[in-house]
Symmetry: C2
Subunit: 676 residues, 2 copies
């Protein structure tokens, strides 16, 4: 474990993980899927996320938990304590940041059963039906009068004692058979893959075996280590994708391959190395052997998917964007240089098209639009935005070229979501003065203690969610007009709006580092949002509907942004805001579902060929919609829902759809609640 | 290629191979399965094996053939020339030894269609039905309007153009798919294994692919490289088993493993290395790429089989001799460090029991006792003798602990069959003087030119066949009695019978090296022959028959010995000598059958479980028979057949079985002819 990371174990769930120092308890809980309520989204307002940090040695878990391992009580917490609304010893999960290892109790009243915007699968209702099962048998003694190989004896015992078919056994495990029999008085446990083949042999009885679900992103790689017996997530681990050194975004990596002989091999190598390291860390955190991880599922975008498999992604860098394989691939981990157990299997989920990968397959598996009665729009924003729209009758998918603006790239002050990054912004409509919050500091910038408290992390840039908010707030404050042009606001003189060459910029922060929002930044945001909007509109067109019923944002971007602001900017189409929300790391959840529930791997293989792929680049209408959607807010939607949220001028409200929308909303609000 | 080896190509068959310098053309032809007649068995008497060596460059085959690359004309050949019975330019295959690369024509009149003592399969009637097939397809161009992965496009083309089922493709080959399509205008050839999986992809059209059948012996490793399209053997290669450095015989190798940590790993490593080298040599000889070898079949005794697979053979070194696996194993070659094509498959034939291995499975596949109407006895003599007896109704198998005496080990002057080894012996019944022939010299020791001609090779020891002959001749000459005791022959004073401590020895050769046959040598032969005899007798007992109908000797020992002498010594039970003969390297032939005819792999897997294993060590009768069979000749058989062959006193002839035996002989002689 690195010094920059802390271990945390949540009780009573037993979920545990490793996080960067400074992560709040709430963030960790959300990442691990711990049942900890939070209504305000970590703003310190709802007071629901109260937890009880433990003091003492948790030898079994290898954790020494100290209440001092948490950041000092915040003003908010002190205030609550003084009013007797934060009980002795408790902390607010969203305020307390972890500085060392911890065991944290989640009191009964802080638990909830989280609702998901999609009805189908949540972390708790995955039916554990893994690809491999353990069977323990005791073999009869060898008998010279009836000679029989030990393999045959094992096969017969499995048939007789466990009703299994005749199973072959991997050679690497055959080698272990006789030593195992000798070690444990002829008792062995075997792992059987897909009821077809023995892929592991251990002496004596063995009751646990593990699997890992991995979301191989272009920026981060995230692993969830699960028991294949209970289905529990026993540890998580993240790392940066080391391919970043070859190019920030996917296209620059493909360019690297095109321009450098062996570039794909180098990238394949580093991502596999990172994968191995990640598995090691996860196993160490969970206190299990690396060779106890026997099954792996992987989701990834097509380029990452091909690179991980060692397939040259060059053809994915240009039209016609032909995948080598779009099917589920099942491999021995060793075949792709992943070294866990000798026979660990890796299953990569299928891809949809050249731009729509196994990560989208994971989102579908997590949110199951194919089972939905109403129209569900799923949006996964990264360098591209993958969009899925549909219901039980029909599914459409497209990829929209948003570019990396939403991830903080191509933005002058943009940066990744890391300590020091501005993640929340408010602009006073009268004074045009901003206030903001940075990751790693628990007070807003207008708080008296901000200078002191932010000293450690500094104010270094603006991350994705900050970019959305600042642009939306600038728009709401009139600093930018509907065409996205920054300019002086009539009657509101402000030193924040400054001339910057031939255009104007907005001075967000004038500290050690000067952070401005430039006209180019706003253009980048406009382009990105226009692409996303045009893509969703194209699918809505194709589907022949007026309005979607629910919208789910998948991925890190989706879980950080405030959907209100996304709607202000016109990132998403018109929808009742109650039914818009984050679906969390749906791709990763999909990988975990595939890991724990083998039949779902078959299902996703059957669903994907039914998905209609819309190639935005070939659609004349996409260009048209794209240009229309450059405006802020875009001029094509009725904004019925938006008008309820923020008081902004709505260009051309359509009364009819307004009524219909409200009706839908009333009808279904009894059934569901948004997380947001 | 080593300097000690020569390349030879036979025409018109096109069979080629690499042999030690000094090998006769006949020996090479026999090893390659070239159709070259020989009745006298290479004695220079029948004059049938006439061949026409070629002069010139055979560029296509990479051979420069010179008639000077043959040893000088022998007296026999000169004699035949003078009588116009050896045409201009021709040589006697058994007289001419190869000293350099050669292309050799086999004239029409020297060709025959060799008969096999077993009826079933010969080299020429293996039905070529390999495990893998080539298919060439041209894929449609990618289409952005109907995006489809190239893998799916390939699958559909194979279904539509070749009526194949939906085939998965190995990842290593998927990586090659798009580059191959690009290289050859979207035409590719794939190799499909068992109509189940694509294991190779090449650009454009490919019409040939190869396989290798390997006989992994404890002393030598022999490979036959075959076209999987035509079935032809295109090259052979041999090498010593480098495990010899760990122990001459199998049991000493197992002891090495028991006494040395990691000893099995070391032995596994060296045998796999030798395997890789052998494949390289065979591919080079044939002028093909190493990566064109896609399928391999292997036969081996159980210990070699387990070591090759990397399974610790220790349990095979002691009771209850439990195999880890007795089943056919199909592996990726790379899994066992055999590096040819990335997806080359290795299939090891199944084993029968702890002492009876995949080599015996090969013998069964070659000779098919399970299809025989009459009782066929198959004997494979090595350190142990594996014995199979049966017909279409019932099959028995046993292993008899003959020890390595028949291989020249445990014999004071014993050595391997190599130049300088005595391989033939005659003893004058009156003078008791011996005459002999050594490997690498074409005249008998009483020939005037022997000293000159043998100078190059010397007289260094006695090989297996020499041991059988000298013991039998000593017995026939009365130098040893029925109990195997060497002594002075009454009325025949001889300086050859010498006192040697407390026993007598027979002085076979008194040259630079003194070669004696000692009492201990005779004891070793007696023990070996008694073990073999007792084993066969036990099986005959079990079968409830009086007499076997046919006997086939498998392996090198079987093809060198003179069966008459084997019968004099009582190595084999009573049988019409016309039906006793060598079945050649039946184990290797079995491997080739399995390679070229995939259904036979399934068949052998079905035959073996039907074979009844007789564990000689558990049979009280085996001990009894063993003791009885110590006598020379053993006292239990009627010797009806033997008495026809050599004029020796028969202890207790049984008139009844005599008649029965002759009857059988007459009945079947019309149907078959022996090779011998």
């Amino acid at each position: 474990m690195s010094d920059d990371e802390v271990n945390v174990l949540f009780m009573p769930s037993g979920l545990r993980g490793q996080f960067p120092t400074g992560t709040t308890i709430l963030q960790a809980a959300q990442r691990l899927g711990v049942d900890l309520e939070s209504i305000c989204g970590g703003q310190g307002q709802c007071r629901k996320c109260q937890v009880l940090p433990q003091q003492g040695e948790f030898a079994k878990h290898g954790i020494t938990s100290r209440v001092e391992h948490l950041s000092a009580f915040t003003e908010t917490e002190k205030h609550l304590q003084s009013k007797n609304r934060l009980k002795e010893g408790r902390r607010l999960g969203c305020n307390a940041r972890m500085l060392g290892d911890l065991v944290v109790d989640v009191p009964e009243e802080s638990q909830q059963h989280k609702q998901h915007i999609a009805k189908a699968v949540t972390a708790y209702d995955i039916q554990v039906q893994p690809a491999l099962h353990l069977f323990t048998v005791t073999l009869s003694e060898p008998d010279m009068h009836a000679p029989m190989s030990d393999k045959r004896r094992l096969q017969q015992a499995l048939i007789r004692q466990h009703n299994l078919p005749l199973l072959d056994c991997e050679l690497s495990q055959l080698r272990l058979l006789q030593p195992a029999l000798e070690k444990a008085a002829r008792q062995v446990t075997v792992a059987v893959y897909q009821f077809e083949k023995i892929i592991a042999v251990w002496p004596g009885e063995k009751k646990q075996v593990y699997g890992m679900a991995v979301d191989l992103g272009s920026t981060t790689i995230a692993a969830q280590l699960c028991s294949l017996v209970s289905g529990e997530v026993i540890a998580t681990a993240d790392s940066m994708n080391p391919q970043i050194r070859f190019g920030e975004d996917l296209m620059s990596r493909v360019s690297y391959v095109m321009m450098n002989e062996g570039g794909d091999v180098a990238m394949t190598q580093v991502v596999r190395e990172a994968f191995n390291q990640l598995a090691k860390r996860a196993a160490k955190t969970a206190g299990i052997g690396l060779d106890e991880i026997l099954d792996i599922t992987v989701v990834a975008n097509p380029i990452m998917h091909h690179l991980f498999l060692g397939i040259d992604p060059t053809p994915l860098g240009g039209a016609p964007f032909t995948l080598t394989t779009d099917q589920t691939q099942v491999l021995r981990a060793a075949e792709i240089d992943i070294f866990l157990h000798a026979e660990t299997r890796v299953c990569t989920l299928p891809c949809i098209a050249g731009h729509i990968g196994a990560d989208t397959a994971g989102v579908i598996l997590s949110e199951r639009p194919d089972l939905s009665e109403d129209y569900l729009l799923l949006v996964d924003v990264g360098t591209n935005a993958e969009i899925v729209l549909g219901n039980r009758n029909r599914l459409l998918a497209a990829s929209s070229p948003t570019g990396p603006a939403f991830e903080g790239a191509q933005i002058s002050a943009g940066q990744r979501a890391a300590p020091g990054a501005i993640e929340r912004v408010r602009i006073d409509a009268d004074t045009l003065e901003p206030r903001f919050r940075v990751i790693g500091c628990d007070v807003w910038s207008d708080h008296p203690e901000f200078a002191e408290k932010s000293a450690k992390v500094g104010v270094s840039g603006i991350c994705g969610s900050g970019i959305i908010e600042v642009a939306a707030e600038m728009f709401l404050a009139g600093i930018i007009d509907q065409d996205g042009v920054i300019g002086v606001v009539e009657g509101k003189a402000s030193p924040r709006i400054i001339e910057d060459g031939r255009t104007w910029s907005y001075l967000l922060h004038d500290g050690e580092k000067v952070l401005k929002v430039t006209q180019n930044d706003i253009r980048a945001i406009q382009l990105a949002k226009a692409a996303l909007h045009a893509g969703t509109r194209l699918l809505i067109d194709y589907m022949g509907i007026e309005k979607v019923d629910r919208i789910g944002f998948a991925g890190a971007f989706g879980s950080h942004i405030d959907v209100k602001y996304a709607m202000v900017l016109g990132l998403i189409p018109d929808c009742n805001l109650d039914y818009v929300g984050s679906v969390g790391n749906a791709a990763g959840t999909g990988a975990r579902i595939a890991l724990l529930n083998f039949p779902s791997r078959v299902e996703i293989g059957e669903i994907l060929p039914r998905v209609e792929k819309i190639e935005t680049a070939l659609e004349a209408k996409f260009q048209e919609y794209f240009i229309e959607a450059m405006a802020l807010p875009h001029k094509i939607d009725p904004y019925t829902e938006l008008s309820k949220v923020v008081n902004i001028p709505v260009p051309k409200p359509k009364a009819a759809s307004d009524a219909a929308g409200s009706e839908t909303s009333r009808r279904s609000s009894r059934r569901r609640r948004s997380r947001v």
